[in-house]
């Protein structure tokens, strides 16, 4: 269970860890505790699975990668094989089975359009994939995941 202190701490650093030599000291001062308390609590939250990843998050588009959201119609009896084959691509960062006509949704990041086309063509021809559509973004209005705890 998250304590009230954990929630305050996470709300504070979810998106704004200071770019300063002693970032945890700055956070500690705001929370009126010492630097070690912040570091130890963050290590605990990480070790206990509350924090998925800590650190820098880059924007794929600004780094020159091309991205898309793809959706597949997969025969249920072949779902496991198809999902695992898709997972095997390093550029697939999210892969979710969902209710609905298109039942497998994944995001794909590629170094360039050609690589993306080749990967999608390979996935589209996997046994068990009845149809595959790609829905590249036109504009991103919001990408930040910050939860109010």
């Amino acid at each position: 269970m998250l304590t009230n202190f954990d929630k305050e701490l996470l709300n504070l650093i979810q998106t704004r860890l200071p770019l300063e030599s002693r970032p945890f000291l700055i956070v500690a001062k705001l929370l009126e505790v010492d630097e070690n308390t912040v570091i130890e609590r963050l290590s605990w939250l990480k070790d206990h699975g509350y924090i998925r990843r800590f650190g820098a998050f880059f924007d794929s588009t600004y780094l020159g990668y091309v991205s898309t959201l793809a959706a597949a119609k997969v025969y249920p009896e072949q779902m496991t094989e198809v999902a695992q084959a898709i997972n095997a691509y390093a550029g697939v960062t999210h892969n979710y089975e969902r209710d609905g006509e298109y039942n497998l949704w994944f995001t794909l990041l590629s170094a360039n359009q050609l690589e993306q086309d080749q990967i999608l063509a390979a996935i589209g021809s996997l046994p068990g994939v009845e149809a595959l559509i790609s829905l590249p973004a036109i504009e991103k209005y919001k990408v930040s995941v910050a939860f109010n705890l």
Partner: protein, 161 residues
């Protein structure tokens, strides 16, 4: 354009972030530059949009957000910008993109909704529909997470010290 040092910094910054008093000094050591140089580069990346955030990504389920739905909306072309800005303002909406639709799948606008329960997700989608006047949408609940990870950019630059 990114040079080799940029790629090296980005690759190393995606590794384990040291939970120690001077984390940037340690990261700079791994990259082979000074702490000052690293902080300057990161500040520049943040200004130019390359660095989206410094912080944490939480495991939603563990922090109490068990239900997530991808909501696909049909938005008239002329209203995309207005709808995008309106929806992005909701805390519950964590991702919000307009996308190129397909003939067999006409939905051109997508929001990720995170809530504690499915019922809550449905109520929130209904609230967004009401606020935007959009009637045509599909709420796609996830039933299984097959993969969720962060992208490894420029992995070929991550090795060595």
């Amino acid at each position: 354009m990114l040079d080799n040092l940029d790629k090296r910094i980005i690759a190393v910054m995606q590794g384990e972030f040291p939970l120690i008093a001077e984390p940037y000094k340690e990261l700079a050591r791994r990259i082979g530059i000074t702490e000052h140089q690293l902080l300057e580069k990161l500040t520049e990346y943040r200004k130019t949009g390359k660095l989206r955030k410094m912080g944490v990504v939480l495991r939603h389920r563990e922090v109490g957000y068990a239900a997530n739905a991808l909501c696909a909306w049909l938005v008239p072309e002329a209203r995309l910008k207005e709808v995008g800005q309106l929806m992005a303002a909701y805390t519950i909406v964590t991702h919000c993109y307009s996308r190129i639709p397909q003939p067999q799948w006409p939905y051109n606008f997508y929001t990720m909704l995170h809530a504690h329960t499915r019922t809550e997700c449905k109520a929130l989608a209904a609230e967004l529909a009401e606020a935007t006047g959009l009637e045509n949408y599909q709420l796609l609940f996830s039933t299984r997470e097959w993969k969720k990870t962060s992208m490894t950019y420029f992995p070929e630059y991550a090795g060595g010290e």
